[in-house]
């Protein structure tokens, strides 16, 4: 699926390291399984040669990592950014979360990343090897003799099917060609939900959100969630752990999580990617984005540095809270 190769990235990283432009490189290492690639910092070319991996599972957005690492590391950090990552990068700069001078950003093209849940659904559990071929991902499991080929289109992550942009909005250097902002159908599913009756919607969310194990991974990975003290870590709130199914606690977590990033969420899709329970968190974020676009004008967080997020802004003509429901009688 990915057009650029590991070699190109290693070469770029190695030359910048050797020239002394950067002192560390963000990249990916093989994880426990072939598909769980782990973000890692590399400081030498030997490490790069040995452990750097690149492929269809390298979806991690490095923007947030820069917040902590730019404070710790002397010198610049090289970071490879996919188009969608550059929006988070800009958003973090807007919020002054890291020093731009300490980062060397290289834009890399992206053809869409694979979702391991989809691969597992198509090829089965017990995956021991995944090979990228012309036709798709050739998956070898413990239980099949010949690799099962999963076409790329079937393995594509949800966020990549509805990719909003192939354009890099921030970089120091670009590998490959500049893409465009895309027309995506990312609000279609939100609209489908809106068209349901309240009872159907309640049942839908009750089913989805009760699966949540409150691992907080969605919060931890989110480049918009960079508070150092989080309301959900408060030990006396009584809200930091898993709630029994059927209570509102889970929904409260999700409403507040999405609300805290409303207007700042770049729709990078990391939250849905990391959720071990495959909860469609993007449907919550996109609801806010859709509402903001409808009521306060089109806004894409991170499209430029320094823009004012809609929820910390206002006009005297804003819609009244009671009028946002105006979507016909089906909601009555």
């Amino acid at each position: 699926m990915q057009k650029i190769t590991r070699e190109v990235l290693i070469e770029k990283a190695a030359s910048l390291l050797n020239e002394g432009v950067v002192s560390a490189v963000y990249g990916w290492k093989k994880g426990e399984f072939v598909y769980d690639v782990t973000p890692a910092l590399f400081t030498t070319t030997e490490e790069l040669e040995k452990e750097f991996v690149w492929g269809d599972f390298c979806g991690a957005n490095f923007s947030k990592y820069l917040v902590a690492s730019t404070r710790k590391i002397e010198g610049k950090i090289l970071v490879f950014l996919k188009p969608c990552d550059t929006y988070s990068f800009n958003q973090l700069l807007t919020e002054h979360r890291f020093d731009r001078e300490k980062v060397y950003a290289v834009g890399i093209p992206c053809e869409g990343m694979a979702d391991v849940s989809k691969v597992k659904a198509a090829a089965g559990e017990g995956i021991i090897a995944i090979e990228s071929t012309e036709e798709g991902l050739a998956v070898t499991t413990l239980y099949n003799d010949a690799p099962v080929v999963v076409p790329y289109a079937e393995a594509l992550a949800e966020r990549c099917i509805n990719c909003k942009s192939k354009k890099h909005v921030a970089y120091d250097e670009l590998i490959g060609e500049e893409g465009d902002v895309l027309e995506s159908g990312r609000f279609d599913q939100v609209a489908e939900l809106e068209a349901m009756t309240p009872d159907e919607r309640f049942a839908f969310w009750q089913n989805e959100l009760s699966k949540c194990i409150r691992c907080n991974a969605c919060r931890d990975v989110c480049p918009a969630c960079t508070c150092e003290k989080c309301v959900f870590n408060n030990p006396v709130s009584g809200a930091e752990t898993k709630a029994p199914m059927g209570t509102f606690e889970e929904k409260m977590f999700h409403i507040i999580r999405a609300f805290h990033v409303a207007g700042r969420c770049t729709d990078c899709g990391e939250c849905s990617r990391v959720c071990p329970q495959d909860i469609p968190l993007h449907l919550l974020n996109r609801k806010f984005i859709k509402d903001i676009n409808t009521h306060y004008g089109e806004y894409q967080a991170g499209a430029e540095v320094g823009s004012r997020a809609p929820l910390v802004n206002y006009t005297t003509e804003d819609v009244e809270p009671c009028d946002v429901f105006e979507r016909g009688d089906k909601n009555a």
Binding site: L193, F202, G238, I255, F325
Partner: protein
């Protein structure tokens, strides 16, 4: 213990400068509004964190209403404009999750509008009572 006739419990967040004074005026004028409306005074309607609202529901409120100064009249110039955006987004999200939209409301009530305060509370309490008990938002662990 009440058994059959459960009156709706309503939490009203009232801005210190307008609506709270409006509630006072309603009282001075002997205008009746339901005793189950629990007023919480806030310095400005924009002090109301979305978490306050959700917590109120979890602990057993059946409806939550936020009252502030009319847009343009905020004691702090712009607080209620932020309230308006935030609450519009929050209520729309609650509706999206399938929660009855009549349980939440924002009203602008000035210090001179005692009658509007009482009328708003009566109307709101009536609507919430018609919906019945808040089942979708409560959390048994939080109820005292």
């Amino acid at each position: 213990m009440q058994v059959n006739e459960k009156k709706p419990l309503i939490v009203a967040f009232c801005c210190n400068w307008c609506s709270y004074a409006g509630a006072d005026l309603a009282g001075n004028n002997r205008l009746a509004y339901p005793a189950d409306v629990k007023i919480i005074r806030v310095p400005c309607s924009c002090r109301v964190n979305p978490m306050f609202i959700l917590r109120a529901f979890q602990r057993g409120a059946d409806g939550v209403i936020i009252c502030g100064c009319h847009p343009g009249d905020c004691h702090y110039t712009s607080g209620n404009y932020f309230t308006r955006r935030r609450m519009a987004m929050l209520f729309s999200m609650l509706d999206y999750l399938g929660i009855e939209k009549e349980r939440t409301r924002v009203e602008w009530v000035s210090a001179a509008e005692g009658a509007k305060f009482a009328a708003t509370m009566n109307d709101f309490a009536e609507k919430v009572a018609a919906l019945g008990e808040n089942k979708r938002l409560e959390d048994l662990r939080c109820k005292r």
